[in-house]
Each structure stands twice: as C-alpha cells, then as structure tokens.
C-alpha cells in the first residue's frame, strides 16, 4: 500500500480552531551560511524577554487553539541552544494543550544535543525529535557552515535513543557545492543506518541575502547543476524506499504511522497557529506572519498588543489554487471529493485549463477519486503550481 500512510484520517475542519501549534525559537549559536530563517545569536537576557512575550502571545491567541492539539512543533533557530531552565519553561508553555495523542516535536542541532538535553526533552513530554543532520560528509557540513561534525549526528541520535526517544527524524540536504552523487549516496546510507522513523531530503536553495548566495554570485562556490540534483533526488527516493520508508510527500519519507503530522497540517491546508517572531499562522481562513523582529515582537506583547504581522485572506479560485499547491505535494495527491466538499467544486472545474493541460501531457494524474502529480513530474512540480496559480489570478474566460 504505497500511498496509504497519510490517508486523510482527520475530519476536515478548516473553520474551526487550530489543530497545530508552531513555536519559533529565534536563536542560534551560529548562523549557517544557507539559512534564511529568522534567528539571532543566543543571549540569556534576550531569551528572557522572548519567553515572556511568547507566553503573552499564547495567552492572546489560545482561544483559537483546539484542546488537545494534534501537533506541537518547536523549531527555529535552534531551540536546544536555550539554557536548560529556559528550555524547560518553553516546553512547559503548551502543557495544557497536550493530550495522549498529541505529536510534540522539537528540532535539534546535533552539535548542541547531549544526554542531559535528550532526557530533558523526553521528560517535558516531547515524543518526536527531528535532527538537522544535513550531511554525513565533513567537507559538506563545512560548506554549509554547520557547526556540528558527522560524528555528532550519531552521538546525538544515540543520546536520544538512550533517553527513550523512539521517534527520531533526520533532515538531509542535497545540492551542496562540491557534493557528488557518490558522496550523497554515502550520506543516505549513513542516515538509513541510524534507522530514522522519518527522513526529509531537501534540495539546497540559494536564498537571497544569505552568505551562500553571495558566495555563489561572487563565484566562490559553484551550485550543483539541475541534472545532478535530479539524480540525487531520484537516488534518495530509490534508497529510502528500498529501506522500507514510504515516500509520502515530495521531500519526505516515513515509517508506517510516523508521517510528520505537523507538516501534514500545512499540506492538508488545515489551521495552525505559529507563535514567535517570523512565525506563520493560518486560522479562520486568514494567513498571517509575525514580523521577523524580536524587539518589535517583545515590545508589542509587553504592552499587551498583538505583535506586528502581515496577513491576507484568499477566497474563491485563489484559495483553491493555494490548496492545490499544498496538497499536490503529497504523493497521494488531493482527494477530489474532499476538495469539493470544502470548496464546492471539483478542482478540474475550477481550474480547467492549467489542470487539463498538465493532465494531457502526463504531469498530473487524474483518477475518479484523486488528482496527483506523476512521479516523473515531482521534481518540476512548481511549473504545475505556477500555472494553476496563474490561472486562478486570471479572470475566468467567458464560455
């Protein structure tokens, strides 16, 4: 049963309170050269203000949180770079929304995870840890500006296992400058040897204004060509599925029942609340993103005000196109019936030209029940999404 891992087992309740909570920890010991997520150097004083503000934001927004939650996800930044007391305080904040089935994930950096931290996570109720391994090749880790070494990864995973954590996910990156298909294969093998419950493989992206992008523009590093990246992607699929992991999303693989519930809320277009600077939320049909500015964030919440944020509400075909952009990332695709229940129309009727064209050329597969991206088109799926979004923005042609 290849596509059965994330059958839409939850009722669709887009209008209800959020099923998932994200907490953004905007601190790192050191910034990686490729990363454009919001983070600042860790500082105890700053962390204090941040935690107070975080508690205030939770208080302001808790009425729109379902109790208990399906998922709590603490990411960053590097949550584990907080001092132990601060980390305890942070992990204790959502305690009232944790139920017996809540998935509680924390992102860890292998360099900052020891036995004590592992034990602390487990005792705080964390039941899933995602380890930012990225690569098992020392040279590649240096290229990325990661502060940990290849051996740190194994050590961190061992510490987690010793602490009783059985749900350990690994993140890997391909497309690193000077990475080769052979070195990528070694990384994949090393990762699978650890037997993770979940594996994410992301293509390195050169985000504007990052040191890595500047180095590429200055000719100091050479980006991996698209052809090789595609080979790496295909290799990841072959290796991971051969190891018994199910390829359930564009970049994600999981053991049975170990899909990432948190990310599924995004892909299934369900409501979530993000706390912290730069965190994104989607509640009551409104998408909002807090400003990436810790000082402004804490200042507003100290005054008891909502932190500065940008928001928008999409309706009609724009909302449908966005839902497809998310849902089609799942290998099983989008359930047509479920889509129609939510939006009142079949996707093919709403966006006939873009979908029709990609179905005709084989990039999309349409069955009576589902619409999904064909395996060969996964690595160019943004072309499909861009076409669908563009059609949604056009006026509907007159019949």
């Amino acid at each position: 049963m290849p596509h059965a891992t994330c059958k839409e087992k939850w009722p669709d309740r887009p209008r209800g309170p959020a099923d998932a909570l994200y907490v953004h920890v905007p601190f790192c010991a050191a910034k990686c050269g490729y990363c454009d997520f919001y983070s600042l150097p860790h500082d105890a004083g700053r962390a204090r203000h941040y935690l107070d503000a975080l508690a205030a934001e939770l208080h302001l927004r808790c009425r729109r949180l379902r109790r208990p939650l399906e998922s709590i996800y603490v990411g960053g930044g590097t949550p584990t770079c907080l001092a132990p007391e601060a980390l305890d305080e942070l992990l204790g904040l959502p305690g009232a929304w944790i139920g017996p089935h809540t998935e509680f994930t924390v992102e860890v950096n292998p360099g900052t995870l020891d036995d004590a931290t592992a034990a602390q996570l487990v005792s705080a109720g964390v039941n899933r840890v995602t380890v930012g391994a990225q690569s098992f090749e020392q040279e590649e880790l240096e290229q990325l500006g990661r502060s940990h070494s290849a051996t740190d990864i194994a050590r961190a995973v061992t510490a987690l296992h010793r602490a009783g954590m059985d749900n350990v996910a690994l993140d890997l990156i391909y497309g690193i400058p000077r990475q080769t298909p052979a070195s990528w294969r070694r990384t994949l093998d090393a990762a699978l040897a650890i037997d993770p419950s979940h594996l994410s493989v992301y293509a390195l992206s050169y985000e504007p204004q990052t040191p890595l992008a500047a180095a590429r523009d200055a000719g100091r590093v050479v980006a991996m060509d698209d052809e090789t990246q595609r080979d790496c992607y295909d290799e990841a699929i072959a290796t991971a599925t051969a190891a018994g992991l199910d390829h359930y999303e564009l970049s994600n693989f999981a053991r049975p029942n170990r899909t990432c519930r948190h990310n599924l809320t995004y892909w299934l277009n369900r409501p979530y609340i993000g706390l912290g600077p730069a965190a994104a939320s989607y509640v009551d049909g409104v998408r909002s993103v807090n400003e990436a500015d810790l000082a402004a964030y804490t200042a507003a919440l100290t005054r008891g005000e909502t932190p500065p944020h940008a928001s928008e509400r999409l309706t009609g075909r724009a909302a449908m196109a966005e839902a497809l952009m998310l849902g089609l990332r799942l290998i099983e695709g989008v359930g047509r019936r479920r889509f129609a229940d939510r939006y009142g129309t079949d996707p093919l009727d709403a966006l006939p030209y873009s979908i029709g064209r990609h179905v005709r050329c084989g990039a999309l597969a349409l069955t009576p029940d589902r619409l999904r991206v064909s395996p060969a088109a996964l690595f160019v799926c943004d072309t499909i999404f861009a076409d669908i979004l563009a059609e949604a923005r056009q006026e509907r042609p007159r019949p």
Partner: protein
C-alpha cells in the same frame, strides 16, 4: 476668368528637397498670405509630416499672380511625397498641365526625382526645372543642373520647353526658398512655360477627384479639378466609379484659405462638400459628373486604392481592443487607403489585419494612432498580398499564409513585383548589386546620371524589399542611396508555405509564404528564435520547420529538469505562493499549442526573424 489666365501645376521633388518651403515662398510673394501667416510648411496640416519633413496629404492652393497687365490664377496642387502614394501622385499630376521639378542643389537628382519626373512625362506634363537650396555651403548648382539636363532629355517622353527646344542645364532656375532668391523667375516661368488648361465649360461635366479630407462638421471635403463643364451649388452629382449620388451643399476655391463660391468651371480647381459621411466612399482618381446630365465616360486612369503591405495590429498592454477599433475607424475617415478587418490569433488576442499602400503609410498610421489617439499597438512584421491560381482556374487574393487553399488545389502562387530605381554613388554599385542579388532581383539596366552617380534599375519581388531593404541600402551606400519603386504586377514563382510545428502541431500564426530558396534559412531562424523565447516545459519539445510534410529544419527544446521548492518555508505559505506567482509574472498572454505555452513575445520575435 478665361482659361489663358489659369495655370494648374504641381511641385514634384524628392523628400526634403524643399518643396513645401518653396510653396510657402510663392504664397508670400503673391500676397496670398501675410508674413504673420507665413510659417514653415504651412501647407502641411499635420504635425507628423512637419516632423518627418515630408508631405503626406496633398492639398491645393490658389495663388494670384500679376505679370505685366495680366492677372493669373495659379492653382498649385500639392502631391504626397512618397513612393507609397505613387498612385495619388499620379492622380494629382493628372489634374495639372505642368509641374515644377525641384532638386536640392546639395543632394542632386535622387530616386524620387527620377520617378516623379518620369511620371509627369508619362502624363504629358510640361516641366520647369528648379535647382533649390543654392544658398547651402555644400550646394553644387551647376552639377545638379547637368544631372537635370540628363534626366529631362531621357525618360519615357523627353521634356521640351514650350517653344519645342530641349531643356539645357542653363535653363534651370536657381532658387533658394529660404532666402527668396529666384522665386520671381520661377513664377514667371510657370506662366511662360506651362500651358493653360483646355476644356469646355458648356459640355457634360467631368471633374477629377484628386484628394479628400474629413471635416467633423461638414463631412468629407472632396478636392476636384474641373476638366469639362461646370458645377453649381445645389447640383446633384454622381461619382462614376462608385455610382453614388450626392447633392452639392458647398463649393469653394483655395485662395489660399478655402473660400466659398457659387460655381466652378472647366480648367479650375476647387472643392465640394455634399454630406458625404466617409472618405472611403470617395476614391481618389474617380470622376465626378452631374447626375441629370452625365458624361458618357469617366476620365482615364482610375483604380481603387491597392493595399500592398499588410500588418496585424494588436492592442498593446495599455490599450484595449475597442479603443483600437475606434481609433482605426477615426483614422479611416480621413485615410481612404487604410483598410482593416478584425482577426483573432489566440496567442495575441483580438486585433486587426491592416492594409496599407506601403511601408511609410503603415508607419504613419501607427504614429498617428499613438499621437492622435494615445493608442499603443503591437504589430507584426509587414507582409505582401499574394494571388493564388487554383486548379479550377480562379484567382484568389491572399494576404496571409493561413488563407492559402489546400496545396493540392494550388496551381501557382503569384507575388507582387516592383520596378525599382536605385540611385547610388558609383563606388557603392558593387555592394548594392550584391544586396539586390540576395533579394531575388533581376537587373534591368544601369545608367550614369553623372560621373559619380548611377541609376540601377531592378525588378524585385515586393516581399524582398518590404521589410528591411531600405536600411540595408542605406548602409551599403553610407546613407547616400535612394530608392523608388512602382508595382508592375503579380508574377508566379516557386513560392511555398513554410509551416512551423511546435511539439508536432502546426502553429498557424507562424506560417509564412516565402520563396523555396529562402525557406530553409528562414525556417532555421524562426525555430532558433522560438527556442530562445519558449520556456522549457516538463517534456522535450520538438521545434520544426516544414514545407508540406517535409521537415526542413529541426531543433529540440530540452525538458525542464528541476523546478521545485523542496522545503516548505516553516508554514509561510504566502511566501511560497508569491515565489511561484513570480514565475509567471509578465507572461500573461500565452498561446497553448500542443500543450506548449508560447509567449506573445515569441510570435513577434519570430515574425521579425531575419534570415541573414
């Protein structure tokens, strides 16, 4: 006024040789206008022509001139100054008994000088040669006069003075419209050298329509030269060509401003107003007669305007289709030679296939749309009309490749040919001949105008010179070469329909008619441009050029290998969506053929593809 005191004449000259300033100078000299009214090129009514220094619409003016004891009425009929308006020039000349042949002393005789002089000679017009701009430091008046002598002694019907002796270089009038020098002699020569009109005021009325303009309040104003009979206000008149009948509500002459009169008689020039709604019902060259006492036959030489260049106009990004249509309709009120019909190429939206007399006419229309109506157009490269003889023996007019009948029904395809005079410096003859050979030209003859300047006469397929030939000629002659041409008919040749296939499907809007020998380089150029303009898709796209079922050129646009946002931006869906929307930004107009999106820009680029 008795006929002996009337002179009807034109001024013929190459562009920029000073025709309009000379006309103004005569008006000033005769007192027809005051110093205050004297401004440059007052005969030209449109900004556009003032800027381009050329005359687009002809007009007419009457100058009173006293010589000795006698008063003369000099009717000057202005002619459009460009090859595109060849027919209009010929009709204007038909309205005259003579012409001033004006040549720039610094430039010498040029292609249009020759073309217009020959045209006047063929029409039996008496000529008065004038060397203008003698005040210029670079003027070579004597050399120019020698070239004129040579020109007038050759041609279809060598010109002579009124006393029957040939024109010599020293007979030329040396003038400067700028300083006024020579104007007196020029006006005296008009009276002495040009014959008065013939024609009987008491027979059936025949008047030549030589121009028309549109007036918002009165409708069409028709410019006429009376050849026989007379016209009065209230008369019912009939256009012999169009068979339409109108009642004359106003008659006038030009003095130089339009001045109402009660009657016009044979030999005179004037205008009529008769509640005519559109200039398209008035054809230049048509004959006007009285409805209740009609002439038996029209004046010779009439033919309806013939569009020789076609281009598709689409509304640009800032303009919508109805605005473009309204603007074209308004322009057509004043420009009977402009035709347009709606077309819809899916790729480009709705537009119009417009027909023009020639390339300049096309440029003028485009500029007027922009200036007078604020309309921005996207236009395709110009093409020419073809005639197709089908196996059943009928001939079809075709102005785009899409209109061609099925190949099995085609007996032959004919294309318009022109006879072109190229006047070039002697040193540039080699490069110009090489250029002509590349354009399928057939050499007719070569003649030395002077030791340094040569007239090369060729016959060209119009399609070969319609696009960029003039630019190429200019660069081959360092800017000194000039060109004039006249359509001489349609000729069959080995013409084929070149199809372009994208992903194995024919794209109609990209098909062109071209000569078989040009089809391969052209096909290659087109698919090379397409490969640059079409984005990679999720599959390999074959791009092919074909004649019938035979592929003559092929390239493959390789499939896109990667276009994926692997990570998910921590739930910031808006950011991801906006990044994706950017991928399609600025690519709104796409035509989908064979599952391939072809941007509008690709169509334009392809139509402009240069096979060189």
């Amino acid at each position: 006024m008795a006929h002996e005191h009337i002179r009807n004449f034109s001024i013929i000259a190459h562009i920029d040789h000073g025709k309009s300033t000379l006309a103004d100078r005569m008006l000033l000299r005769s007192g027809a206008i005051s110093e205050r009214e004297f401004h440059e090129q007052m005969l030209d009514e449109m900004d556009l022509e003032r800027e381009r220094g050329i005359t687009i619409k002809s007009s007419a003016v009457t100058i009173e001139y006293a010589a000795g004891q006698r008063n003369y009425m000099l009717n000057m009929i202005d002619t459009p100054g460009h090859v595109d308006f060849h027919y209009e020039v010929s009709r204007a000349l038909t309205a005259c008994e003579g012409a001033l042949l004006v040549v720039d002393a610094a430039q010498g005789v040029e292609a249009q000088t020759v073309a217009n002089a020959h045209l006047a000679q063929r029409n039996g017009l008496q000529l008065v040669p004038v060397v203008n701009k003698i005040d210029l430091p670079s003027a070579r008046p004597e050399d120019t006069a020698m070239e004129i002598e040579h020109l007038l002694s050759t041609g279809p019907r060598p010109s002579r003075k009124r006393d029957g002796t040939p024109w010599a270089a020293e007979d030329c009038i040396f003038a400067s419209a700028k300083t006024g020098e020579g104007i007196e002699e020029m006006m005296a020569a008009i009276v002495e050298q040009l014959p008065p009109p013939a024609g009987d005021a008491d027979v059936e009325t025949k008047a030549l329509v030589f121009d028309s303009t549109y007036d918002d309040y009165r409708g069409v104003v028709v410019y006429i030269r009376m050849f026989e009979g007379r016209l009065r206000v209230g008369d019912k008149v009939r256009m012999i060509g169009t068979e339409e009948v109108y009642q004359v509500s106003e008659l006038g002459k030009f003095a130089p401003r339009p001045t109402r009169v009660q009657a016009i008689a044979a030999g005179e020039v004037g205008y009529i107003v008769a509640s005519i709604r559109s200039v398209s019902s008035v054809h230049v060259g048509d004959t006007l007669t009285l409805a209740d006492r009609p002439a038996a036959a029209p004046l010779a030489g009439y033919r309806p305007p013939q569009q020789m260049v076609f281009s598709d106009f689409y509304a640009g990004t800032k303009t919508d289709f109805p605005a473009l249509r309204d603007a074209l309709e308004k322009l057509q009120l004043n420009d009977a030679a402009l035709t347009f019909q709606p077309i819809s190429a899916e790729a480009l939206g709705f537009g119009f296939r417009c027909g023009f007399l020639g390339l300049l006419h096309m440029e003028i229309v485009q500029e007027r749309l922009e200036r007078e109506h604020g309309i921005e157009v996207v236009q395709t490269a110009p093409t020419v009309p073809y005639q197709v003889l089908t196996v059943d023996g009928t001939v079809h007019e075709v102005d785009s490749a899409g209109e061609l009948p099925d190949p099995s029904r085609i007996d032959e395809i004919r294309e318009p040919y022109v006879r072109a005079d190229l006047i070039v410096p002697e040193a540039a003859v080699g490069p110009v001949m090489q250029l002509a050979e590349q354009r399928r030209a057939s050499f007719q003859h070569q003649e030395y105008l002077s030791a340094q300047r040569v007239i090369l006469t060729y016959e060209f397929p119009l399609a070969e010179i319609v696009y960029d030939f003039y630019d190429k000629l200019k660069s081959a002659t360092r800017g000194y070469g000039t060109l004039d041409y006249e359509v001489v008919g349609f000729r069959a040749d080995d013409l084929v329909k070149l199809d372009i296939l994208v992903n194995n499907e024919r794209v109609d809007a990209l098909s062109v008619i071209c000569h078989r020998t040009k089809s391969e380089p052209r096909g290659r150029a087109v698919i090379r441009r397409l490969r640059q303009e079409i984005d990679r898709h999720m599959f390999d796209i074959p791009l092919q050029a074909a004649i019938g079922s035979r592929i003559i050129a092929r390239e493959t646009l390789k499939a896109l290998r990667k276009n994926v946002t692997a990570k998910c931006y921590g739930g910031d869906v808006t950011r991801k969506r906006k990044l994706l929307e950017k991928q399609k930004a600025g690519k709104k107009r796409m035509k989908v053929v064979g599952n391939v999106e072809i941007p509008q820009k690709a169509f334009m680029a392809v139509l402009e593809a240069d096979e060189a």
